[in-house]
């Protein structure tokens, strides 16, 4: 396996320096980005990076060191640094916490790819964006239109001192477009698909699936129409959220609070803690019985889909919420052990220079049984909202306020006129207990998030939240614009 010789040396050096366990993760990363802005190719970039990160365990405490120096002396120095840092951790620890993983694997994984992006000429990629971006200028009020493509190629090689040798070739792709309309004292934006574009694991087929050209003019027209649309009213209404907004809702109000490191206080000073405390496990009525949310790091198209996480734990599927009741967390080896469970492989690092940490990976709200169009049937007075524009939630993940790019009035079961600046707010368990319908699997979609922030140093994670549109009763609407 590639990097095996350097890995052996790294692990030997760490052991010689006193590490009771060590692992090293070599990564070769490449990110190609193209962005077109108002007819100009504003970004045409190709960034490549290769390096490795070493975790060392000394007396129940961890140290991590990363370097791009691929020489034998370079890995020796980095391994020694990781061990020294572990000793410093041990010197201030009031108790041991870390322990080596129990299972070793030798395996390979590769993201299924239908069409290798390398087979698509660069000129063709640029032409797609230029055409879509031009179509988004569908009204004179469009001051800025943008269209973009992101391609990530990540080759990972994981070796551990208990014998794991894991090679993974992960491919993720994404694209999107946005139109910004400027009017008299107002700015309105529409984004497609969803609120960040379409991001999934796979190759060029993901870019094609976004159908940017086919939707660009509509997005531009909607942005312009929002300038003269009535303001979303303030008050208590029934709300139907589009699929991408439900995706963000579970990301913020379930995915993050269910991170076990957060529950244990590891993120307290920055990302915060969680209302999903340990004494709530198997007891808390998180949502209505319709609400089942799972972690599935094997699901097709998931941004976090892989064979093994960055601690070398095999991917699988587990419950977070089942039939409305809190049943589990996103876990690492150490955190899972501390509550008497096994890791569910939710550990990722942004890239080689970052320490692996718990991420929500692929989170999924299972589909319900209501066809999308029937969600509206018995809504007498409500608002339908799509595409997130603003998101905020307190540091225990209870009090939230989200805004969307676009809304529509619902009157007597029918979707009516356009509304601008729709927002809604609530408390997480109350909100999810008010969920009385989730659309069926025909509307269920794997929405990817390319830029989830967490940790110190801050890391950007690529996650997926699969979801379908859903209906919520008696929700506070119009916050931020009302009195």
């Amino acid at each position: 396996m590639e990097f095996e010789e350097l890995a052996d040396r790294t692990l030997d050096t760490a052991a010689a320096r006193g590490a009771q366990y060590a692992d090293v993760r070599f990564e070769r990363v490449r990110n190609e980005r193209i962005e077109v802005r108002n007819g100009i190719v504003s970004t045409l970039s190709d960034a490549a990076s290769t390096g490795y990160g070493i975790r060392a365990l000394v007396d129940g405490a961890w140290g991590f060191a990363a370097s791009a120096d691929l020489t034998p002396t370079g890995v020796d120095a980095a391994a020694a640094r990781a061990v020294a840092i572990a000793r410093a951790s041990a010197s201030i620890a009031r108790r041991p916490f870390g322990a080596p993983p129990e299972r070793a694997y030798t395996d390979r994984f590769a993201t299924p790819v239908t069409r290798d992006p390398a087979s698509v000429p660069l000129g063709e990629r640029v032409a797609l964006l230029l055409e879509a971006e031009k179509l988004a200028h569908a009204a004179p009020q469009i001051a800025v239109a943008r269209a973009w493509i992101d391609l990530w190629l990540t080759d990972k090689f994981f070796f551990s001192s208990i014998g794991s040798k894991i090679e993974q070739r992960i491919r993720q792709s994404g694209s999107g477009l946005q139109a910004m309309a400027v009017g008299d004292g107002d700015v309105q934006t529409r984004t497609f698909p969803g609120d960040v574009g379409l991001y999934q694991s796979g190759g060029w087929e993901i870019v094609e699936a976004a159908r940017l050209r086919e939707n660009a003019a509509r997005i531009g027209e909607e942005a312009a129409a929002l300038l003269t649309a009535p303001q979303c009213p303030s008050g208590t209404f029934d709300v139907i959220l589009g699929g991408s907004q439900v995706s963000l809702q579970i990301h913020e109000s379930c995915g993050h609070p269910a991170e076990l490191d957060r529950v244990l206080g590891w993120e307290a000073n920055f990302s915060g803690t969680s209302f999903l405390e340990l004494d709530q496990l198997d007891r808390l009525e998180y949502g209505s019985p319709l609400v089942t949310i799972v972690i599935d790091n094997t699901m097709p198209l998931g941004m976090a889909t892989c064979g093994y996480d960055d601690e070398g734990t095999q991917s699988g599927r587990s419950d977070i919420v089942r039939d409305g009741v809190l049943r589990g967390y996103e876990m690492s080896n150490d955190t899972a052990r501390s509550i008497g469970r096994e890791s569910n492989a939710c550990v990722r690092a942004q890239s080689w220079e970052y320490v692996p940490m718990i991420r929500m990976c692929n989170l999924s709200l299972l589909p319900g049984g209501t066809p999308f169009e029937h969600l509206f049937d018995d809504v007498r007075d409500g608002v339908y909202m799509e595409s997130n524009r603003s998101w905020s939630i307190d540091d225990r993940r209870l009090n939230f306020q989200f805004g969307c790019e676009i809304g529509w009035e619902i009157k007597n079961g029918k979707r009516g006129r356009l509304l601008k600046n729709p927002t809604y707010a609530g408390m997480t368990p109350t909100f999810w207990r008010s969920c009385d319908a989730i659309a069926d699997e025909l509307s269920w979609f794997a929405w990817g998030t390319p830029n989830c922030g967490k940790g110190e140093p801050m890391q950007t994670g690529r996650t997926t939240q699969a979801a379908a549109p859903a209906r919520f009763r008696n929700v506070q609407v119009g916050v931020g614009y009302g009195d």
Partner: protein, 443 residues
Amino acid sequence: MTSAEREAIAKRALAASTADQTEVIVSVSDSALTRFTRGISNQNVAATDRSISVRAIVGGRTGVASTNETSDAAVDAVTARAIALAAFAPADPQQPALPSGGATPTPPGAYVETTAHADPFARAHIADAIVSQAEIAGFWGAGYVATSSSGITIANSAGALASFDGTDAQANVKVIADDSSGFAEHYATDIERIDGHEIGRRAVTKTRDGANPRSVEPGPWTVILEPPAIGELLTYLLSHFSAQSYDEGSSFFSGRLGERFFADGVTIRDDYAHPLAPGMPFDYEAQPKTRPTLVERGAVREIVTDSYYAHKLGRPNTGHALPAPNAWGPQALNVVVDPGSTSADELISQTERGLLISRFWYIRTVDQKRAIVTGMTRDGTFLIDHGRIAGGVRNLRFNQSIVDALAHAVFANDAHRTGGYGYSLVVPTVKIEGFRFTSTTEF
């Protein structure tokens, strides 16, 4: 990697380039962070990296490629890749010539050897001091101690050549009790200026004072925002001062440069050389940074530019380019708010009824044009009653236009460095009337 070694790499790339114009950015970093919580160090990390980024401009077409390999072959390859990429972009008629640079003296105190060579035990020592203060009080703490050194060299085919080496040291803690928490932080370039005991004591005091919090009704309140709170709020306004935002019409003052929006006492500058936060004296195009006054006694005076927007708008290049390519345009990243004449304690004692806020959390823009943002209070929110701190209150959510807030702002005469999200800020405590809270939470 020394600045001379970085310059050698940059010159090799320039020599290898056949593009009309070429820019090379060579950067190195060595950063370490010791994070702690509940009696363990949960993340104790260090990373070294380097990057070579080449921007090639051929007939108005631009390509950018980067690598972290430093061999001659890798430098030649990344230069060739940037040129090859440029061939696929349509020509940009607005593409200006790259700037030719100028004198870029490093401000005093930007680089401190002790910080650059701090080992993990130096960070652990400070972390232990912070944690000990929480433990003595019967609480627990979560936070970090971080040190970093970085170097950057930028050279281009127009003759610009600039190098900078800097260091940073930071520590913060959230001290947590049963029903309250308190936050303290310190930013510096010199690790020896970070006193773990003092940081711990400050956070413990807030935690102790916030015990048994009461709920207060949302609505308009007089608030005193401590530096971390006003600093984070301002980061959501600064992009409005970008020439890109101004030009596109999304800035709150697009087309209204020179008009007065804020209270008389509000003066905001961008100053890379402030003694509390000395930073890079040139931008990511090697253009020497100016120190513009963005807001002068309430009136919006300047926007920040890079070579592209200076050319497009016919304005001076203020030296605020971000690394190419980027979606944000030029940005003011070293922001200083001028202090007022009243002490922070006096601002509190002159407040009949209000809220003292230590820190905000999860601020997001609700309405771009009106600069309305929402967010939560966090880690130390207190009731002020008849000019005195009267105990902790449960956290609240606000929805507030930052423009309106600064129209009713009085800054104190203190100055503290704060930061986050790529910004460095030096800000005083501030009193704002009529700050709009819309809901509360359970803690």
